[in-house]
Symmetry: C2
Subunit: 113 residues, 2 copies
């Protein structure tokens, strides 16, 4: 991952790896520590650490230090950039649909009662 000033880019990029999503799912499910997560995922513990770092950098996960452990938790606001992006898509779809309905209704038989 290079620099990433763009929040949307970093969120999508981070979510695009399946293993990383698996890690995220475990965090979501309450498995909060790196070692514990590693037991449920087919990669080594350092790999999990690296994924957790990526999730942190994308701001979709939080750490709380707890003695020698680090407890990770979900940070749902982190998904906002992605959600906004999707909303744009849906809006567009709606706009085009209503435009289509309008022209269709007009060209066909004008205003239906």
């Amino acid at each position: 991952m290079t620099y990433d000033i763009d929040p949307l880019q970093s969120v999508i990029e981070t979510l695009s790896d399946p293993t990383r999503r698996a890690v995220l799912d475990l965090v979501r499910a309450g498995v909060s520590t790196a070692g514990e997560i590693a037991k449920h995922v087919p990669v080594s513990r350092p790999a999990v650490s690296q994924h957790l770092k990526a999730l942190l950098d994308a701001h979709i996960v939080l750490v709380r230090i707890d003695g020698t452990r680090r407890r990770y938790s979900l940070r749902p606001e982190g998904f906002s950039p992605l959600q906004s992006y999707l909303n744009d898509m849906w809006d567009q779809a709606l706009d085009e649909f209503s435009a289509y309905v309008e022209t269709y209704a007009e060209k066909r038989d004008g205003e239906p009662k």
Copy 2:
């Protein structure tokens, strides 16, 4: 891109490339042909074709053949897997928030009037 039976995986993976999102944005904006898109993007025309193929495979874009041209258009339903995934995240956030509110209210002073 390997095989991808998983729709969520293919959508996220496809959206994760910035150039590809730029191509998608142009399609959204009504620039429907490969050659025309290539004029607005800092890569070669074949590169654009490859991106369009990826978008097709992920089912977030459609083609209509029009003589010697191919007109691409947005297919918003293609985003559904991603939207569902996000919804899960938000739901989870809501659940945890209300659980927190409940225990907090209970432990603190019982049911507020």
